[in-house]
Symmetry: C2
Subunit: 335 residues, 2 copies
DNA sequence: ACTTGGCACTCGGGAATGCAGAGTGCTAGA
DNA sequence: TCTAGCACTCTGCATTCCCGAGTGCCAAGT
C-alpha cells in the first residue's frame, strides 16, 4: 500500500507538471486526482520521493517538480505509450503515401512529426550501409568527363562528375557500365569496396586508368555519405513561451550534423523507442529526446525522433514517434 | 550646408544605433562623431528629421531611433557597400571550392553566409527554368518499372520511378533513351514541354503508351521543381539577445518555402543587391532582407541573401552578400 | 504504524515607491 | 543661424512591502 501510493503520487506530479508547467503542490494534487488521502499525507510521501531523488523543489515553499530520475521512472514503469487514434493513423498514412521520391519522403516525415508532436523533429536519411546497389550509371559528358550516378534500393541517388585521365567514347563507357553493373547489381554498399578491388584487371589495358579513376570516385561517394545527412523541422516550436534551456544552444546543435547524430543515438535495440531525458543526453542537457529506428522490413535503416523540453508528454510523444516510424518504414519497403 | 548636416546626423544616428542598439541622444552624437556643433543644434536637426519621418523616439525623452524610411535613405544615399578584405575573400573562395556537388555547394554557401553575417542566411536552389538538359537516363528496374533520371547542367539530378502500362525490355528502353536525348540534349528546361509534345508519334506504335507515361512523369518533375527548394542556416543567430520581432513568426516563415520565396523576392535587376527594410517586406515586418541574384555567367539562376533585424549593419552585410553571390556564381560556372 | 489537522515558517513575485540620469523643447542671447 | 541654459518628462533600477502558496513538523486521532 505504501510504495504503491508513492508511485501514484509521482505519476500525478509528472502528469500535472506536464500539463500546467508549474510546480505542483500537495493541495493541488489531492484536488485533481482523487487520491483518497489528505494533503498532509501526500506531503510526507513527497518528502520521501524528494529524498530518493525523484522530485525536487525549485525553491523552498514551492511545489515539486520531477527530476530527470523521476521522469525516467515515470517513462519506464508508470506510463504506457499512448497509441494514436485511427483517424490520426490514417492521416499519417495518406500524407506519407503522397511522397514522390526519397527526399520527399524524408521531408514529409520530418514535417509531419514536428506537427504531430509540436516539437522539433529530426530525421536521419536512410543509411547507405544497409542498402544495396540498384544501378550504376556512367553518362559521358565530354571526351574527358563522365557523370557517375549511383542509385540505391532506397531510392537514393548520388552523382559525381569525374574528370578522366584520357579520352573515352560511348562504346567504352557502355562496356565499363555493363561490367560495373554486372559486378555490383544488388550488392550491399558496404561490400562494394571488396567487389571492385580487382575490377580494373578484368578490363582491357587501355580502359584501366579511366576505370581506376571512376572507381576511386565511386568509393569516395560511399564514404562521404557514410556520415549521414540529417534534417530537422519545427524549430518554431522551440519558441514556446516556456523553454527554459538556451534557445541558442539548441538551434546551434540542430544545425550541427554531428551533434544531431549523437543526439539521435545509436540503436540499442532495433525497433524499440529510446527516450533520453535531460542529463542523459550527451549534449543539450535540459532537453529530452524520443527516438526510434525505422527501415524497411527487419533491417533498420536509420533513426528519427523528436527533441523537446524535459517536461514533455512522453506517452503521446512516444506514440507519435512510433506511429510515424512504422508508417515511413512501410512506405520505404513498398517503393 | 543645412541639409548636408542633417544627412550627416542621420547617418551618425544609424551608425550609432546599429552598433549600440540603444536610442541615441544629441549629446552622445556630438561626443562620438566630431560634428562641429553643439548638442542643441543637433536637437533642432533631429526635430526636423523626426518631422520628416526619418527618425522617431520610442518615448518622450529618449534618444532617437531610425525609422524604416530613415534606413532606406541611409542605404540609398548615405552609405556604400563595404567590400570584404582580401583575406576574407580568399577564405570564401577556398571554402566554396571544396564542394563536391550541387547540394554541397548550396550547403556550404548558406552556412558560409550565415557565419559571415552572423545572421540567418537563405539560399534558393538554382532554378531549372534557366538551366539546360545535360542528359536524360532511363534505367530499367523491372519489367514494368523504370527509373527516370534527369541531369541538368547545374549538376542537379532528379529522379522518379515510373510504373509502365506494359512490358519493356532493355532494347526498347535504349531506343527511347536515344530518341529522348537526341531531342532534348542541351535544351532549356522550359522548352522541354514543347519539344516532347509530338515525340510519341515518332516512335513505333507499341512503344507509345510507355513513352507517354514516361513523358508525363518527366513533365511532372519539371513543374514539381518549379517552385524551387530553399534552404536556410544560422537560425541560432536569431537567438541574439536583442531580437524584437517574434522569434516564432520568423522561424515559421523560415520553414515555409513559399514565404521564404516571397521574401527573397523577384530580381528587379539581375546583379544588383536588393535591400528590403522592415515594413517593405511582404511578410515579417520588422526584419530586413539583403538579397542578390547569382548564377553562372550572365543568366541569373537564383537568389540568395540574409535575413536580420532592421537594425543591421547594412554596408558590411551587403558586402558579404555580394561577395558570396559572386563566388558561388563563379563556382557554378566552372563546374 | 499511518494518517490527519493545525500552525509557524519561508520564500518568490507583483505592486508601489522613490531616485537618478538622460534627453528633450523652448527661449533668449550671440 | 547657432548656442547656452533651464525646466520638464520619462525610463530604468533599486528598494520596500506584502500576500499567498507551499512546506515541515508536531501532536493527536484511528
Amino acid at each position: 500500500m505504501v510504495d504503491d501510493r508513492k508511485l501514484a503520487v509521482l505519476r500525478a506530479i509528472v502528469e500535472d507538471y506536464v500539463s500546467t508547467s508549474e510546480p505542483v503542490g500537495s493541495k493541488a494534487l489531492v484536488d485533481r486526482h482523487n487520491l483518497g488521502v489528505s494533503p498532509a499525507t501526500i506531503r510526507n510521501d513527497m518528502a520521501v520521493l524528494e529524498e530518493q531523488g525523484y522530485i525536487t523543489q525549485p525553491h523552498t515553499s514551492a511545489g515539486r517538480v520531477p527530476t530527470d530520475k523521476g521522469y525516467r521512472l515515470f517513462v519506464d514503469k508508470l506510463s504506457q505509450i499512448k497509441p494514436m487514434s485511427s483517424a490520426e493513423r490514417r492521416a499519417i498514412e495518406t500524407f506519407l503515401a503522397g511522397a514522390v521520391d526519397l527526399d520527399d519522403v524524408v521531408m514529409r516525415t520530418v514535417r509531419l512529426l514536428a506537427q504531430l508532436t509540436r516539437q522539433v523533429a529530426v530525421v536521419q536519411y536512410p543509411t547507405l550501409d544497409a542498402s544495396t546497389v540498384r544501378h550504376v550509371e556512367i553518362v559521358p559528358l565530354t571526351d574527358h568527363r563522365v557523370m557517375l550516378v549511383l542509385i540505391t534500393n532506397t531510392g537514393r541517388v548520388d552523382q559525381r562528375v569525374v574528370e578522366l585521365p584520357d579520352k573515352v567514347d560511348e562504346i567504352r563507357v557502355a562496356h565499363m557500365r555493363a561490367v560495373l553493373n554486372a559486378c555490383l547489381d544488388g550488392c550491399r554498399l558496404n561490400k562494394v569496396p571488396d567487389l571492385v578491388a580487382d575490377l580494373p584487371e578484368r578490363l582491357p589495358e587501355e580502359d584501366r586508368p579511366a576505370a581506376a579513376t571512376i572507381l576511386s570516385v565511386l568509393l569516395e561517394t560511399l564514404v562521404d555519405r557514410h556520415d549521414e545527412k540529417i534534417v530537422f523541422a519545427g524549430a518554431a516550436n522551440l519558441a514556446a513561451p516556456d523553454f527554459t534551456v538556451g534557445l541558442r544552444e539548441v538551434l546551434e546543435a540542430l544545425e550541427e550534423q554531428v551533434v544531431l547524430m549523437r543526439l539521435l543515438g545509436d540503436a540499442p535495440d532495433k525497433a524499440a523507442i529510446t527516450v533520453r531525458i535531460g542529463s542523459e543526453n550527451p549534449y543539450l542537457q535540459g532537453t529530452s529526446i524520443v527516438a526510434a529506428g525505422y527501415g524497411s522490413g527487419d533491417k533498420q535503416l536509420a533513426r528519427l525522433g523528436v527533441l523537446g523540453p524535459t517536461r514533455m508528454d512522453y506517452p503521446v510523444t512516444m506514440g507519435a514517434v512510433r506511429a510515424v516510424a512504422r508508417y515511413v518504414s512501410q512506405i520505404l519497403a513498398a517503393s
